[in-house]
Symmetry: C2
Subunit: 461 residues, 2 copies
């Protein structure tokens, strides 16, 4: 059964109203002498599951009972933002004119330039700064990309490769479009392309949208797959939307060097979405990027609005206009900080690759621990290392596993939260796995494993 | 003829491509020995008018020819942001955890609390912090309010009181809804209510949306009008969306003291939209607020999404969910700065009223100057003083007046940019009118006036 659980929000949740998975209350009371607080009986498997409520209920458990979980539930960066970035950001606030003035609606010109150099280097593509729009996070960039793709092609339908970041699909529905999904599991390579092609044959589709590396699966689409998707898109005049939020946070590279595989190397009608949240540890500041291929940015698009005379504008103008009409631009002072980081990366003063390799190391270590404790990997063992690791435990559902791990002070999320059909898996984020947390985790996993074996043994008696 | 000119954007405009009103080139060349640059022949009266292009072409004129305009074109705050705000913002960046962590999606709880106290004080209403959502500027708040109003009522139609901030209406069109407009000119009081009522009788309307004080007209709807709108809305089960971006920036008050007149005092199904951009001079940082009445926030709304089970969620949850799905929350560190300012205002340490009275003083002074130089006011002379002043000159169109004022190094915008039917008026913003600029302006207006009289005299010969 596929459990679609929407990400939806509730603030200020008191512990009384907190939404821990069913059964947690009793377990926590017994194992950790928690006081007699009552939890509601909402669970992962109900549509009322609310990810922010879940996070804050774990926060509250930690605070109220002075215990410390191994928090792998939230996709939070764990490497502090660069001091150069913070410094420039503060300088802009204190000495600059960015706080009082509206930002240029497409973003600070020098930031767009430095970003375009960065992206061109990472992907070995051409990227014109005039084709870059700074957005309020990758989330806004995805919204703009989907809006425009649907306007360009007019079929009212977008195909998503799942599992994925839930707002990506939610936005499509909010726009009144139909969201089709295709699970990327073991159907990789030419087989995956065939499945995509079959869907395009059946349905008129405006765009295909995916993240690479993927949240949560950490799948990186390879050359065969990208080449195949490019051909399908070309045949059906569809737009490719590639979410590169996690660019640089994995060790994947193509055969010929440091270049990360991207649709932009195979197709000429694409949007790319990037973010300062993970790669630059700037999640709080809400900065992202939308860029498109020259051919797409030059294309005409029919809009509902009076933009550009008779309602026809090119995609470049329209993408800027959307950011203007959605949020009057993106946070201005933060753009100074991020501009500095791209500048330092571009001139070789800092190496994001080196900084971000920390996540790769942590993922390797986590995978080793999981394997030693009897867990299995949900996706191909050949999956690269990086920010997320997905795993299961024999004969347990993913939601059950989440619930039981809470007993061991470990928090993760079931894959069903990410629109996955894999009901047996969970996602763990290595963002907050410090050395101390790794040691706690190792013990906790050994305990879990020991307890499982005892259960198995006692059930044999 | 009503000229609808859309606000739409173009970055990096070279002077060669700059979009000054027709004829400016020749005039500037003659009067100011400008070099032989060629301007395109785009003008205000073409749909291709682009406000960001216009602003940047004036910027470039100033830079390239080392002249300084009296800039009244852009609605930019001119009072520096509070040092307490900047200080707290920087502290959060340097010492806090806000840069690396995602914001709570409805906003920092303490900010929402301080904001709710502030608003309750200013409007003498109840405002629950749980009914406040922090947004990426008032622009995002307006988008969310319109989206929800249309979902609640399902008629696909919103009525706007014009002239107004163009993105307000543009958003409606982007959402695929029909935008109706009603010009608020001299039809005030019961007459205005009758006109609104007549439109509601003719058409099924989801919401009525306006700003008070209004950009550009600076009209503040009075008790009779608000009471009347409340009755019309109640009769037709419509939602009222009141944009209070300029709250506190005028000297209007109701009879019984310091309270500003608002729909929230007369009706129980409303959204209020506020902004840190103007009132707190934080335009660059993109922070705004959406709040709704208890009755509206509790109401059910049918969504396209899977939010809240079967697609039914209450408005409170849905408004948070929209901000999450549009931008994953609002800039986090900036929330610390703004929280501090509301706290200081609420406990009486600072007085926004005192700080913002500067704009009222400037408007009075500007109106005096204009009157002495033969200009007339577009709206009622009883209009309050504040951030914007709208004026015309006998026998000149608004666009013509803009063009001619450029000769005198004065930049303003024609009212048609703001969807006004008044083709004879322009909007001036006092935000950047420093003492030095006032002196330049006085001379320039005298020159303008003298030249006009000469023209008149010579045409009599």
């Amino acid at each position: 059964m596929e459990l679609f659980m929407s990400i939806e929000l509730m603030g200020d949740v008191g512990l009384e109203e907190a939404v821990l998975p069913e059964g947690s209350s009793k377990i926590l009371d017994e194992k950790q002498s928690f006081s007699n607080k009552s939890f509601s009986n909402k669970s992962f498997s109900k549509n009322s599951f609310n990810i922010e409520e879940y996070w804050s209920s774990i926060d509250q458990l930690e605070n109220d009972y002075n215990i410390s979980f191994v928090r792998m539930d939230f996709g939070l960066p764990g490497i502090p933002p660069s001091k150069f970035c913070i410094e420039e950001h503060c300088n802009a606030l204190k000495n600059g004119t960015t706080a009082i003035n509206y930002p240029p609606y497409s973003g600070d010109p020098e930031l767009r330039k430095q970003f375009s150099i960065f992206l061109a280097n990472k992907l070995a593509i051409e990227c014109d700064k005039n084709d870059v729009v700074v957005t309020c996070g990758a989330t806004q960039a995805l919204f703009v990309a989907q809006y425009i793709a649907a306007k360009c092609n007019g079929n009212g339908r977008i195909l998503f490769l799942t599992p994925t970041y839930p707002p990506m699909v939610e936005q499509c529905k909010l726009l009144g479009l139909q969201a089709l999904t295709l699970e990327v599991g073991n159907n990789r390579g030419a087989g995956l392309v065939d499945e995509i092609s079959a869907i395009f044959e059946r349905e008129k589709i405006d765009a295909i949208c995916w993240a690479s590396p993927n949240n949560p699966s950490w799948v990186v689409l390879d050359e065969t797959e990208l080449q195949g998707i490019a051909e399908v898109c070309k045949r059906h005049e569809a737009i490719a939307i590639e979410d590169l939020t996690y660019l640089g946070m994995t060790d994947v590279k193509m055969n010929d060097g440091e270049v990360f595989p991207s649709i932009s190397q195979y197709y000429d009608r694409y949007f790319l979405v990037l973010s300062a949240s993970k790669m630059l540890s700037y999640a709080g500041e809400r900065l992202g990027f939308l860029t498109g291929s020259r051919a797409l940015m030059d294309a005409n698009v029919q809009t509902n609005s009076d933009v550009e005379g008779g309602g026809e504008g090119n995609v470049r103008r329209f993408s800027r206009s959307l950011v203007f009409n959605l949020s009057a631009g993106s946070p201005y002072s933060a753009q100074s900080g991020i501009r500095e980081i791209f500048k330092l990366e571009n001139n070789g003063t800092i190496s994001l690759k080196e900084i971000l390799s920390e996540y790769v190391d942590r993922a390797k270590r986590l995978r080793g621990m999981l394997s030693r404790s009897g867990f299995y990997e949900i996706y191909d063992n050949e999956n690269p290392d990086g920010f997320y690791v997905c795993f299961g435990y024999p004969n347990m559902g993913g939601e059950e596993l989440c619930n039981v791990l809470i007993e061991y002070n470990i928090s993760v999320l079931p894959l069903t939260v990410f629109l996955s059909k894999r009901t047996d898996g969970v996602r763990a984020c290595v963002g907050r796995l410090s050395e101390a947390k790794f040691q706690e985790l190792e013990l906790a996993l050994e305990n879990f494993s020991g307890d499982r074996n005892n259960v198995k043994c006692s059930s044999k008696h």
